[in-house]
């Protein structure tokens, strides 16, 4: 993602820091908290002598700080060190009257202080921010794109001393999303949970992400994709025993079947397997499972499956039956398909008229 004019990307910012360039004023902006935290940590590392950190590092919050306290902090001289660092978090929350008093400082900052304003979002029309943008090094901490997250995950794994497989990356992105904090947490768990292998594989991240240690809801999806009753029930039983929340299981199945349905439509339009995997951003593992399911379930089965999801959802939220039994019935029905399943379904409903 190219950075905007006058705005440094996170990587460029790190590059400059590594070359020893420290600016007197920074504006960290964007909503990726992990990058903001990482940028702040790197600045502290580069600008503050750890031995005199208590004297030379001040962290303030725009919600509570006044212009006076901020100016006092930024205009103080460093003690026993060359530089001091003042971080103003939530700068956008600083009232305009207070912020305007800082404008002169921004135009003529102290050479021995690095003043870091953190504002995930701000009103660019305010004179404080206009001045800040004109005089500060602006660092872009927006959420990363999908491709950037992939690169980032690989770099993180490397920093933890491991490589990571493509499938594991795709799985992490699919399961956790693109927020870097949770991604880092799950990646770290996967590294710590796998013993000494060189590459983090799919199974490691699955284990780290699932509620239970040995079996994940994705094993259930794989068994369901092949419509194999026994493995499906066995996996479900273990998931339930190991505390995977029933609604989470249902929503994961629902989410996956939505994807299966979409893939089935694309398949009917004549797309080949490889094209389908590209279109839907599927990894080798997820792709095989989804495509197998799209072949195994007819259009009628899929439509009916969604009706059963609704029924199961209602049963889980308000029924008297145990969640395990409700989910077992769903799994049995999904594996047996509409014909047999419907009979079972109607069998249950028809009891109302007995």
């Amino acid at each position: 993602m190219p950075s905007r004019p006058g705005v440094l990307s996170y990587q460029d910012f790190i590059h400059l820091l590594d070359r020893g360039t420290i600016a007197p004023v920074y504006l960290l902006t964007g909503e990726e908290e992990f990058l903001i935290q990482a940028a702040t940590d790197r600045l502290v590392q580069a600008a503050v002598d750890p031995a005199a950190k208590d004297f030379n590092y001040t962290s303030l919050d725009g919600e509570a700080a006044t212009a006076e306290t901020i100016l006092t902090a930024v205009e103080s001289l460093p003690a026993f060190a060359e530089r001091r660092l003042v971080v103003l978090k939530n700068a956008e929350l600083l009232p305009a009257a207070e912020a305007n008093q800082l404008v002169n400082y921004l135009k003529n900052p102290s050479p021995t202080t690095s003043f870091v304003c953190v504002a995930p979002k701000f009103d660019a029309r305010r004179s404080f921010f206009q001045t800040l943008k004109a005089h500060a090094v602006v660092v872009d901490c927006r959420p990363l794109s999908d491709a950037q997250v992939t690169v980032w995950l690989k770099a993180q794994a490397k920093s933890l001393g491991r490589a990571i497989s493509e499938d594991a990356v795709l799985f992490l992105k699919e399961r956790v999303g693109r927020d870097l904090f949770p991604l880092q947490n799950e990646l770290t768990k996967a590294v710590l949970g796998s013993d000494h292998q060189k590459t983090i594989e799919m199974e490691d991240v699955q284990r780290a992400c699932s509620a239970s240690g040995d079996v994940s809801v994705y094993d259930l999806l794989t068994a369901l994709a092949q419509r194999r009753t026994e493995p499906s029930i066995r996996t479900l039983t273990r998931l339930m025993e190991e505390g995977e929340p029933p609604l989470k299981i249902l929503s994961t199945i629902g989410y996956r079947f939505r994807l299966v349905w979409k893939v089935k439509h694309a398949m009917q339009a004549g797309h080949a397997d490889a094209a389908l995997m590209r279109m839907f951003g599927l990894g080798q593992w997820a792709g095989a499972s989804v495509i197998a399911a799209a072949k195994a379930y007819s259009e009628t089965d899929l439509r009916w499956a969604f009706l059963r999801f609704i029924e199961t959802d209602a049963g889980l939220k308000g029924g008297a039956l145990s969640p395990k039994l409700i989910l077992e019935l769903l799994v049995l029905d999904l594996c047996s398909g509409k014909q047999k399943g419907l009979r079972r379904f109607l069998g249950r409903q028809s009891l109302l008229y007995l």
Binding site: F181, T188, L192, E241, G243, G319, L321, S350
Partner: protein, 585 residues
């Protein structure tokens, strides 16, 4: 010596001792070995699975004084730090109950306190139990500490409801979900404890405790304490059943046997025994459902012991019992008792609910499979064909399979007996060869053989010619068709709320008009009989849905037939254009 409850006495002190949470223990020990201690951990999971225990062990590992090189995976348990953590008096390990310290003031105090370095160990560990109980403001205040935690502080949050934790906090924590503890793991731990304590309980008894504990080891140990207090060190299964309030497998098996053998009196006797013993009907029904589930699994699976969490001899019993029932029948039993379970909610007499369910269950007849019914159908077809009255495999058989076969004699499947009977009603004007079946039992004539189409034609005619009477007839629901020699009888039902319409139709001036219309449509005398229906709201709703569906099917069929008509096709072909509307004349 002071008495200690088992859950405290047997609380694990090392990572290896924690039951059922190997995945968490392994990750944490690796984190300690590699020096990758996170600033905040979140332990979530149901009650009694080891969250607080694991937190304390982690605290000990971080602060053990005997380890010279920082945190250790094997705390010594003898140094002052380990001892003070075990006794709950460590100045560096602060346990806070989130439920009673949930406000912003408490969190502000915490924020101030975390600045101070640990007194004896290397870390100050804050264990906040039930952290989901904190207020929104308290979470916000806590977040600020989590954003910049002092390097000597480790937070360990424990919760049973992780979905109540704000995502901003969640994303700053390394989250571990603690598993429910499996029955086998609970039984293994109980065996270890009773061996050490010299308590005698049967394997089945331990199974009962493990089942009642429902994944919580602490609950299992509490039950153990209760039964030991009740029966001393020799515990028999009956005492256990009394303490745990479970029925035991005896009554469950007896009940299922009685139902499968259709012994209503025997089944009711079991219900009475349950009442005499003060058993909870809901609990019994719930256990019965689980038992039926086991039977279904035993029938459907080749390796039931993998899917049924019971000792092998009980699985064998279940397998034998399941041999006498069909899967469909068991499914229906499951349905009956799951409905009963729903009905307990708010029931004034839960005993009656169970009794009625049991009576219903003992009276259902085994269902026949579709394949068998189809076989019967073909047999019937052959028989009728041989009789020469009608060729059912003739042109009529070409009607699309989905279209309702209104002109063919319908096979009625008795929902009670599963037996199929042929019924016939007089077909439309185009038919000349009547097929007669014997007069039907009125109780058995629900289903496919009703002259829906003819009735809708009658109604439609009235709607056009006499809208008032038509709309009254429209409210009626076809209940039954009784074929007779002299005349047929059509039974129409009206709901409670539609009694006025029923009366109007039965008036002297209405009867002949309706009768003549019926004769015209059915091409023979048909008597209209009006009955009053007593239905629940749900049934009414279902009937309305059924009626709508029939109407839809009728419309679809008309549309299909019209579009397939060669004349229309030819007209479209020659003249072009498109079909905008199809009206039923």
């Amino acid at each position: 010596m002071d008495y200690q409850v088992s859950a405290r006495k047997w609380r694990p002190q090392t990572f290896e001792e924690v039951v059922g949470q190997v995945h968490v223990a392994r990750t944490l020990t690796n984190a300690i070995r590699q020096g990758r201690i996170a600033h905040a951990y979140l332990f979530s999971g149901m009650r009694g699975v080891g969250k607080t225990t694991m937190a304390r062990i982690l605290a000990k590992s971080l602060n053990c004084a005997s380890a010279s090189n920082g945190p250790t995976v094997a705390p010594c348990q003898t140094c002052p730090s380990c001892l003070s953590i075990t006794s709950g008096h460590s100045p560096d390990v602060v346990e806070i109950d989130g439920a009673s310290n949930r406000g912003i003031d408490e969190v502000r105090e915490l924020r101030e306190a975390v600045k101070y370095a640990p007194m004896a160990g290397k870390y100050r560990v804050y264990i906040i139990d039930e952290v989901h109980m904190l207020t929104k403001e308290a979470f916000n205040a806590l977040l600020k500490t989590l954003e910049e935690p002092p390097s000597h502080v480790v937070f360990i949050f424990a919760t049973t409801e992780d979905h109540k934790i704000p995502s901003t906090i969640l994303s700053r924590c390394q989250h571990f979900h603690f598993k429910r503890i499996t029955r086998q793991e609970i039984i293994a731990q109980l065996e270890r404890i009773i061996r050490e304590e010299g308590i005698r309980i049967t394997g089945q008894g331990l199974g009962l405790i493990a089942k009642a504990a429902d994944g919580s080891l602490r609950d299992a140990l509490s039950f153990l304490d209760q039964v030991v207090a009740y029966s001393g060190k020799e515990v028999n299964d009956q005492d256990l059943q009394v303490i745990l309030g479970t029925a035991g497998r005896g009554p469950l098996m007896a009940m299922v046997k009685a139902i499968l053998e259709r012994k209503t009196a025997e089944a009711l006797r079991i219900v009475k025994e349950l009442a005499d013993e003060g058993q909870d009907y809901r609990q019994f029904t719930s256990e019965l459902l689980e038992y039926i589930r086991h039977l279904v699994i035993a029938k459907s699976s080749t390796a039931p012991e993998e899917l049924i969490d019971l000792p092998s001899e009980e699985v064998e019993e279940i397998r034998q019992l399941s041999a006498s029932a069909g899967v469909e029948e068991l499914q229906r039993l499951f349905g009956i008792f799951s409905l009963a379970l729903e009905s307990f909610r708010g029931a004034v007499h839960p005993g009656f609910v169970l009794e009625m369910a049991v009576i219903r269950a003992t009276r259902i007849q085994p269902l026949e499979s579709f394949e068998k019914l189809l076989e019967r159908f073909h047999l019937l077809e052959r028989m009728l064909g041989e009789g020469g009255d009608r060729d059912l495999t003739g042109p009529r058989a070409e009607v699309a399979p989905d279209a309702p076969a209104v002109n063919a004699p319908a096979i009625k499947t008795d929902p009670l007996t599963g037996s199929a009977t042929a019924s016939a009603f007089k077909p439309g004007p185009s038919e000349s060869a009547p097929v007669k079946a014997g007069q039907e039992n009125p109780e058995r004539s629900a289903g496919t053989g009703l002259p829906m189409e003819q009735w809708s034609r009658v109604v439609k005619r009235f709607l056009q010619e006499k809208p008032n009477l038509g709309s009254y007839l429209e409210k009626g629901i076809v209940q039954e068709w009784i074929a007779g020699d002299a005349k047929d009888v059509l039974v129409i039902g009206y709901d409670e709320g539609a009694a006025f319409f029923a009366e109007y139709i039965q008036k002297e001036e209405s009867r002949p008009i309706v009768a003549s219309a019926l004769r015209e449509v059915f091409q023979r005398p048909v008597e209209l009989k009006v009955v009053r229906l007593e239905r629940s709201a749900h049934e009414q709703q279902q009937l309305q849905l059924k009626k709508d569906q029939q109407e839809r099917q009728h419309r679809q069929r008309i549309q299909q037939e019209t579009m397939a008509h060669p004349l229309l096709k030819e007209a479209l072909n020659i003249l072009g254009g498109e079909v905008i509307d199809i009206k039923d004349a």
